[in-house]
Symmetry: C2
Subunit: 303 residues, 2 copies
């Protein structure tokens, strides 16, 4: 295998076409084709699915991940040798939406002091994060899934607690002598994969789905809760003063759900990766819970 | 064309597989197949690309949109006839991330009072919104693009102003006697399509791209600005007290960018669609600017 060939593959996937990859690498499109052909001959399989944009085949994804790892190592070696000190390498990391705007914020503060790297955040749900790790699009990810992606290390960061809240007016409209009318009160969902609200309904023995609004944005979800559009599960970390000032009320003390969060990274000895891992670990320790209901199983949570 | 056939098509696309569509429609998978085959015979083209999940072909997308429109009309007719009053129909709407958490919030408040519909929001960039409108996945969208999708109505809502801001510490580090060092100061981008920062750099004659962090979340973007990770363009509507309390400072008075926002809806006489249009129009009028730099051309803006 040849570094130049791997670099050509990464450029095609990053840029989408052979022509754009050629521009990036400052070589001719036919030179790009030749490198890919050489790569395909050496592994005996097709590596790029031609299309707009081009996509890696299964074999291509494996090679692409190696290409990314080589890029990381190369950049660090260059940096250690004192070449290209002024240029920064990109650190691609996947993080779920709710984490990014809550406990992950101190990582951004830390990263503001790093002069050798920039962050390329991917805000993705957990399934997609695993795919991004597998094909080398990110080198690390916050995931709800404790099962390591092949070739990755995983550690548990802690638990993110979600609590059921609603605007007072909505709560009044759907509360009677028997308590909250869970089957009738409109509900919010982050997206189709967000099972947190339904978990609460099931635990209350409610099998009818109430009218459901879908709001796939962490901040939008909170805005919709405040607007009284529906009730929903929200990270306690995102609540701030809403409970204290009565903008939102806690529906039931006991109906919270704890989602275990994990940090997955490539098994790669990289100073840069170790540094971000240390920052993420410290941020998690400061704001996530150390114990939760969920004891390590994958909990279908909020992406 | 037959309503049952269209309904089968919509169910397959919504649920992903013929089997799941059969479950939803409470018919057998072979009955679903027969309906699709009948639909394909009647239009003389394939309408579903078999896969996991199934996807509409080009012809299928045209039919799918008709299917959605029929669903809207059917639901309203049912409602008008007094049947199924207690059930709600879903209103799928696309809105860009920055709008959702700023001027669009009053629409959520309005919608909290509607008892006949739930919102299914899609937070998408403008290109994707057009595709969603075209294939009938949403019936209305906030877009930056003034060109109506075929079969849609479009009206301008107003202008969203973006201003360049940074944390004071970052600003100090990259300001010298000559002013802001635009080529050196790290920058934030929402994603690869977010051209707002580069527009400002170009207008300042800067052709080198500074170190760039990518943060594809409106709230995360603001958190990263506050953390001093980089400078960036932020909706003035999102700034709140940040400028007043010195958390962020305005880099240049004159470097703002105005993005024209439009409301596109299907050309369909629907009471429900008219109601959300009225709410969106009113919310836009309250918070968006009526004039801007950009005079109606499509401005590549923040998704």
């Amino acid at each position: 295998m040849n570094f130049e060939h791997l670099r050509a593959l990464a450029a095609i996937i990053d840029e989408g076409t052979f022509e754009a990859a050629a521009d990036l690498l400052k070589i001719s499109p036919s030179a790009v084709s030749q490198r890919i052909k050489a790569l395909e001959n050496s592994v005996g399989r097709t590596v790029v699915r031609r299309g707009v944009p081009c996509a890696p085949t299964e074999a291509g994804a494996v090679l692409l991940r190696m290409a990314r790892q080589v890029q990381v190592l190369e950049a660090e070696t260059r940096h250690a040798l004192g070449n290209g000190v002024s240029s920064r390498t990109v650190t691609p990391v996947a993080v779920n939406a709710d984490s990014l705007i809550t406990w992950f914020v101190p990582v951004l503060h830390e990263a503001a002091g790093w002069t050798d790297t920039t962050l390329d955040l991917h805000v993705e749900d957990q399934d997609h994060s695993s795919r991004l790790l597998r094909q080398g699009d990110v080198i690390a990810a916050v995931t709800a899934d404790p099962a390591p992606v092949n070739g990755c290390r995983v550690e548990r960061l802690g638990f993110m607690r979600y609590v059921p809240v609603a605007a007072p007016a909505l709560h009044r409209r759907f509360t009677n002598g028997a308590g909250v009318d869970w089957a009738g009160m409109p509900m919010l969902e982050f997206n189709a994969k967000d099972d947190l609200q339904r978990q609460v309904l099931r635990s209350r023995g409610v099998d009818r789905t109430p009218p459901t609004h879908t709001i796939p944005s962490s901040e939008g979800f909170l805005a919709a809760l405040r607007a009284g559009l529906g009730w929903g599960m929200i990270p306690e970390l995102q609540l701030d003063t809403d409970l204290a000032d009565g903008t939102l009320i806690l529906l039931e003390e006991q109906a919270h759900r704890d989602v275990a969060l994990h940090w997955q990274t490539w098994s790669l000895e990289s100073e840069r990766l170790n540094r971000i891992t240390a920052a993420v670990r410290a941020a998690g320790r400061r704001q996530l819970r150390t114990t939760g209901q969920d004891r390590g199983k994958a909990a279908p949570g909020r992406p």
